[in-house]
Structures are given as structure tokens and as C-alpha cells.
């Protein structure tokens, strides 16, 4: 079985984003970029399925700029077998990414697509669900646990009230949540080896899908800033304050 793992290059988890003063967006110049944390969890899950003998090949895909190569090399160093970069400097919306991925799925015929539930830059939480819809496949979103058994996959999902388990026929799309696994770090020998693994470069035009944006961002602004309040001396002072604001 082949697993396709779409990954995205995003601002590093530990960096506090800065809004540009002209309102045109978030300043990404000279900012550390990394693989979207949810996508790391996806790569890890695919590798674990391969290690458990449930998958033979893992193909990592990214739609993004030339530098997204680095993100794909990270996936390869973790344990993916090969990679495809669909190169574009334009911002591609989740619907466009899903359309490109659907074409790649046609070519590669994976039995499973595992991707992060959301990217921590635009926080859309859409691509996996859209891809499943375009392919007419089942979707197991916000996965906490997955189990493949022959021609079906059981996905335990993190939902607002607790956990829900669904069973999907394969092929299917799974999107990952935080508790699915803890991604490994790539070892130095594996980082070296990853440099020799195949990485195909494509462009959106190769797939012949319309990815022109539907949304126009007219302004990006800072959220209202909260002012730090008062540090109180002790619990009695805290209780008095809570009473003053009517909390208790």
C-alpha cells in the first residue's frame, strides 16, 4: 500500500508572527520556517504504518515555493521514500491545493492520504476534507488513533465532547490531531541519506487545474492588544479583586 503525505512549509511554531505595518500581511522575511507541526505528525504516522508492515511506500508532497524543498527533505529524512514538489510562488488556497492533490492521487494511486488537520499559518482546516470530497473518498478528520485492517481503516477522532470512532473503506483521507503520535527527530545519517532520495519538481500547470484564488485579502491587522493588569500580593487581595469585578 502506498501512502501520500501532503506537507506545508509554514512559520515555525515558536515564532511570534508580526503584522506588516502597511496591512499587507504577516512579515515572513528572515523568519524561521518549518514543517507544519500537524504534517510532522502525519509523516510520523505514515512511517509507523510502514514499520508495522501495513504500507510499502510513503510519498511526501508539498505545494509551495522552491524552499519547500527543505520541508520535503525533512520528511525524507524522517523516513518518507520520495517527494514531489509542486512549485509556485503564488499563495494557493486550500481548494487549489486539494485540486492539485486530487490529480496527484490519480497518478500515484495511494490507498491512504494522511495530512495535518490544519496549517498553523492560515488556520483554515479545510484541505483534507476538500480532497476527500473531490475524490469521493471517506474522511477521518482530527485523528487520535488509526488502525488499518485489510480494506478498511478505523479512525478514533478528537471531537468537542470527547472521542468518536468511525470506520472508513479504503482508499480514504485522514487528518491528524495532536495526540496521534510524537514525531521523531531525523538522525544525522538519515538527513544525509535524504539528500539522495528522489524529489520530483512539478508546477501547477503540469496538473492542468485552475488554482486562481477565490479570496482577496484586503487588509491584515493586529488584533486588539490586551493590557497587562495588576499583580496582587496574596490570595486575600485576589479574592477582593474577583469580588470587585463581580466574578464571585
Amino acid at each position: 500500500m502506498k501512502i501520500l503525505v501532503p506537507v506545508k512549509r509554514v512559520i515555525d511554531y515558536n515564532v511570534k508572527p508580526r503584522v506588516k505595518s502597511d496591512g499587507s500581511g504577516v512579515d515572513l522575511a528572515n523568519v524561521k520556517m518549518s514543517m507544519n507541526p500537524f504534517d510532522e505528525i502525519s509523516v510520523e504516522e505514515a512511517i509507523r504504518l510502514k514499520e508495522a508492515g501495513k504500507a510499502e511506500e510513503i510519498v511526501a508532497v508539498s505545494v509551495g515555493p522552491q524552499k519547500a524543498q527543505e520541508t520535503l527533505r525533512t520528511a525524507l529524512a524522517m523516513g518518507a521514500d520520495r517527494a514531489i514538489l509542486v512549485m509556485t510562488d503564488d499563495e494557493v488556497e486550500p481548494l487549489g491545493v486539494a485540486k492539485i492533490l486530487a490529480k496527484i492521487v490519480e497518478e500515484e494511486a495511494p490507498k491512504l492520504v494522511i495530512t495535518g488537520k490544519q496549517a498553523i499559518d492560515d488556520d483554515s482546516n479545510q484541505t483534507g476534507q476538500m480532497l476527500a470530497a473531490l475524490l469521493g473518498w471517506g474522511q477521518g478528520t482530527f485523528a487520535n488513533e488509526v488502525d488499518i485492517d485489510g480494506e478498511s481503516i478505523t479512525v478514533k477522532r478528537e471531537i468537542d465532547g470527547g472521542l468518536q470512532t468511525v470506520k472508513l473503506g479504503l482508499p480514504a483521507v485522514v487528518t491528524t490531531d495532536l495526540r496521534l503520535n510524537e514525531p521523531r527527530y531525523a538522525s544525522l545519517p538519515n538527513i544525509m541519506k535524504a539528500k539522495k532520495k528522489p524529489l520530483d519538481e512539478k508546477t501547477p500547470a503540469d496538473y492542468g487545474v485552475d488554482i486562481s484564488p477565490r479570496l482577496t485579502t484586503t487588509n491584515v491587522s493586529e488584533p486588539p492588544v490586551r493590557q497587562a493588569g495588576e499583580i496582587v500580593e496574596d490570595v486575600d487581595a485576589l479574592v477582593a479583586k474577583l469580588k470587585a469585578v463581580g466574578a464571585i
Binding site: Q139, T141, R157, E158, D160, Q164, K167
Partner: protein, 309 residues
């Protein structure tokens, strides 16, 4: 504009999350509500009473009992032939279904809106709420998820909508429901609680979390939340997580105990009316957003606080 609002429910009761979506939809135009479920007639009646709703569509079918997106999305896509905008709450149910609908309609979804600026322009948070984007859509039909804390709740009484049955294509044969583990609790739900007591990694264990956090929450009639670190460490279940990728909350009072205040956590609670922080590290970032801070060892301060409120 004719809008279609996805009603959040458990086949018996309509959930509050629906009400903020009705408010957002009413800023766009006429509000129709959609109840997908099985044996969900009572939900349809509740939705019909919500102020501002003019028509309730009820799809009552065994294949929709658990609102599996594979079965729900095609039905919604069909209903969208006669509606202009589909709005769902940004809950795990809404987030699961709406993008699937959007792709079937070839529409780019607008996630987690904070405001309706005009019929095609909305604001939404990006980068964990560290930036607010104003976006305009060129799609003729709109698919939107709505952040519950950003809109007032529509009144649950005062409406008298007509209720109409609709039928879908049934089971798409792609997925099936196996089981659910839903925590039964007398406590208010996080997203609608007036007061939330939230614990972080500093609690150290699930026993300590229970021993320190629960009595204070009981005393205040509060909901209980947690930071990602506390959930990852297994102190509490996943549905307690407040933050960028967990629950977004905005209670009257949010009491953060032993939570340092990573940006991902702040993204989930910084719209709370009053934020209280108790942490022994005076440099913890949580104090930069707290209205009331107490630098103290939580294992001393919290039991004392519990005794005095």
C-alpha cells in the same frame, strides 16, 4: 440573500453553538436552519423557535444519525441550489462537514469568521489569532464557519419558523459510525461556561490536577479547561484543551493556573472578559495578558483560594 445554517445538536437538544451562527447569518439575509440527524424532530422544533429563523429543514434519516460528512455533504450541496450561503459553527462537527460541502460546490470556504463586513467580506483570525485578515470572496455561493465567541447568541424564543422535511441520498457507503466516548459531566460546557478554571503542566499529574483544580471549579460552578501541555501529558482528556487548535473560549472569568501562556494557548482564551493568572514564574507570558495576576506556588495558593471564595 438566503442562508442555510447548520444546527449543532445531539438528536435531542440543539446546542448553543447554533445561536451565534444564526446571528452571523442574519447579518447576511434570510435565515434557514438545517437539522441533520435521526429521530431529531425535537431539535427541529427548538430551531423553529430561535429568533430570526424563518424556515427549518429537517433531514431525519438513519444515515444522518451521527452526521457523517460523507452522507451529510451531498444533501447540503443539493440544498445549496436554492440558498446563497451555508454557515456552520466552527465546532468539530462544522469543521468536518463544511469544507466537504465547499469542495462539492467548488467554493473556497471562509473559516472561523469573526465579523460580517458586507455580504462578501468577512474578518477571520490567522496565525493563531496574532493577525486578523479581512477577506473578500468572489464565489457566488458562500461556505462559512463561524467562531462562536465572536457573535451574540440569537434568542432561543420568539421565532415561529415553518418546519419542512427534506430527504437526502441516504448512506454514501464510504463510512460508518463505530462508537463514541462522550464525557458525561454536570459541569458547564467550556464554550458556554461563564467561568473557566484551567490548569497547565505545572500541576504535574492527573491526580494533582483533580485535587487542585476540581474543588475550585466546583466552588465557582466553573467549566474546566487545560493547556495543550497538560492534555499531552495525559492529566485530562483532549476535549479540555483550550487554544489555537483546541477550543476557543471567551468566558466572563478565565482562571489560568500553572499555565505559562504560549501563544497557541493565548489564541484560545484572550477574548475572555477577565483573565486571572496564578503562576510561580513572574516572567510567565500569561501575566502580560492577565487582568489580575498572583505570583505564587499554585499548590498553596489554589487550595487557599478555594477556601475563601
Amino acid at each position: 440573500m438566503k442562508t442555510l445554517v447548520l444546527v449543532e445538536h445531539d438528536n435531542t437538544d440543539m446546542k448553543d453553538a447554533t445561536l451565534a451562527v444564526v446571528t452571523a447569518a442574519s447579518q447576511l439575509g434570510e435565515v434557514h436552519a438545517l437539522v441533520l440527524g435521526s429521530g431529531c424532530g425535537s431539535v427541529g422544533e427548538q430551531a423553529a423557535k430561535v429568533a430570526g429563523v424563518t424556515t427549518v429543514h429537517v433531514a431525519d434519516d438513519a444515515s444522518l444519525a451521527n452526521q457523517l460528512p460523507e452522507n451529510a455533504a451531498p444533501l447540503i450541496a443539493t440544498l445549496m441550489e436554492s440558498h446563497d450561503a451555508f454557515l456552520a459553527p466552527a465546532t468539530t462537527t462544522g469543521k468536518n462537514i463544511a469544507p466537504r460541502v465547499a469542495a462539492l460546490l467548488d467554493v473556497m470556504q471562509i473559516s472561523d469568521i469573526l465579523s460580517v463586513e458586507s455580504e462578501d467580506t468577512f474578518t477571520r483570525p490567522i496565525y493563531a489569532g496574532n493577525a486578523i485578515a479581512t477577506v473578500t470572496t468572489s464565489d457566488a455561493k458562500k461556505v462559512i464557519t463561524v467562531r462562536g465567541t465572536a457573535f451574540d447568541k440569537a434568542a432561543t424564543e420568539g421565532g415561529s419558523a415553518s418546519v419542512e422535511g427534506v430527504t437526502g441520498a441516504g448512506d454514501a457507503g464510504l463510512s460508518s459510525f463505530v462508537s463514541e466516548e462522550i464525557a458525561k459531566s454536570e459541569r458547564p460546557e467550556l464554550t458556554s461556561a461563564k467561568i473557566i478554571v484551567s490548569g497547565g503542566r505545572a500541576l504535574g499529574s492527573s491526580e494533582k490536577f483533580e485535587e487542585v483544580i476540581t474543588p475550585l471549579a466546583d466552588k465557582l460552578g466553573a467549566g474546566i479547561g487545560a493547556s495543550r501541555a497538560a492534555v499531552d501529558a495525559g492529566y485530562v482528556p483532549n476535549d479540555y484543551q483550550v487554544g489555537q487548535t483546541g477550543k476557543i473560549v471567551a468566558p466572563e472569568v478565565y482562571i489560568a493556573i500553572g499555565i505559562s501562556g504560549a501563544i497557541q494557548h493565548l489564541a484560545g482564551m484572550k477574548d475572555s472578559k477577565t483573565i486571572v493568572a496564578i503562576n510561580k514564574d513572574e516572567d510567565a507570558p500569561i501575566f502580560q495578558v492577565a487582568d489580575i495576576g498572583l505570583v505564587a506556588d499554585l499548590f498553596d495558593a489554589v487550595p487557599e483560594l478555594t477556601g475563601k471564595v
